[in-house]
């Protein structure tokens, strides 16, 4: 498809040039236009450069900009998906707080949501490594660090014990830990667009 366009444009340029030469031979008294037989090398270069910009910009540079933008948008969507999954944990804690009771099935569900998030993080890690190899390591490591800080707080402490009872102190501490993780995900979305 791209080859066809280039061929078409080249043909059009050639036809226009030939037509121009023929026209100048037939109509010899064009006002204000004189045909200069002496061509300087920099004029030829300028002509080629202008032609290249005219062809390269719409077909290559514009495509590169659009591709880059869609890759970033795809990565930002992966982060948004992690954020949406994490909201399910927040909802379980809020529901348990409203009922003044957290069930064993709630804890199993929280563990499963963390598992889901781990797979989403693994997917993000793979995707970012394809397009931004140099920055991917630091970004993925920071994301995993923040994720494990949040996960360790929730599943590494008293909440996992069978004698745990949910109270406002725990709910407030959870909001703080959750917000830190959420803030990191939101900042990461912005960071991706600046890559």
């Amino acid at each position: 498809m791209k080859k066809r366009y280039i061929l078409l444009i080249s043909a059009l340029v050639l036809i226009s040039f030939v037509l121009g030469v023929l026209l100048s031979r037939i109509v010899r008294d064009f006002p204000l236009i004189t045909f200069n037989h002496e061509i300087k090398i920099f004029e030829v270069l300028t002509f080629i450069l202008t032609l290249l910009i005219g062809i390269l910009f719409p077909f290559l540079i514009k495509k590169w900009i659009e591709d880059n933008r869609s890759i970033k948008s795809c990565l930002a969507d992966e982060i948004k998906a992690i954020l949406l999954t994490s909201l399910k944990i927040k909802a379980i804690i809020e529901k348990a707080s409203a009922n003044n009771n957290i069930l064993a099935t709630d804890k199993d569900e929280i563990n499963f949501i963390f598992h889901e998030m781990e797979m989403q993080i693994a997917s993000f890690q793979d995707q970012i490594a394809i397009s931004f190899k140099n920055e991917s390591q630091a970004i993925s490591n920071e994301l995993k660090k923040k994720f494990h800080e949040y996960k360790d707080y929730l599943t590494g402490g008293e909440m996992m014990t069978s004698t745990f009872t949910i109270d406002q102190k725990f709910v407030r501490a959870h909001v703080t830990h959750y917000s830190l993780f959420e803030r990191h995900l939101k900042s990461l979305t912005h960071k991706i667009y600046h890559l």
Binding site: N111, K144, D152, M160
Partner: protein
């Protein structure tokens, strides 16, 4: 050394691991360590073979379970020895694999 034993946590222990200690509830890290992980690890060390631990099929590993089993084993036996005789498999979740290996390398005393 060759792999002579495969420990599949999902079928040999539980698909829903629990907290750190036995008194914290069912399927704790301590229970897993004492019933399965440590005995199988000792057998592997004495028999000079590798124990493969399959992490797949489990619906999430709580941090307290990981710390109370793999972390505790590492604190008792040393990270180098544990990683010499145990190898891990997780086709579905590379992040959990990384987390467990990091826990063995840098166990947190609790």
């Amino acid at each position: 050394m060759e792999i002579k034993k495969v420990l599949v946590i999902a079928s040999d222990f539980s698909t829903t691991p629990g907290a750190r200690y036995r008194e914290d509830g069912e399927f704790s890290g301590q229970e897993f360590l004492e019933k399965l992980l440590q005995p199988e690890f000792e057998k592997a060390v004495n028999g000079e073979y590798i124990l493969k631990v399959d992490l797949d099929g489990v619906w999430g590993y709580p941090s307290s379970f990981v710390s109370g089993s793999f972390g505790k084993l590492s604190l008792e036996k040393g990270a180098d020895l544990v990683l010499k005789y145990i190898t891990f498999k997780s086709d579905e979740n590379p992040i959990r694999l990384e987390k467990i290996i990091n826990e063995i390398k840098k166990p947190i005393k609790k």
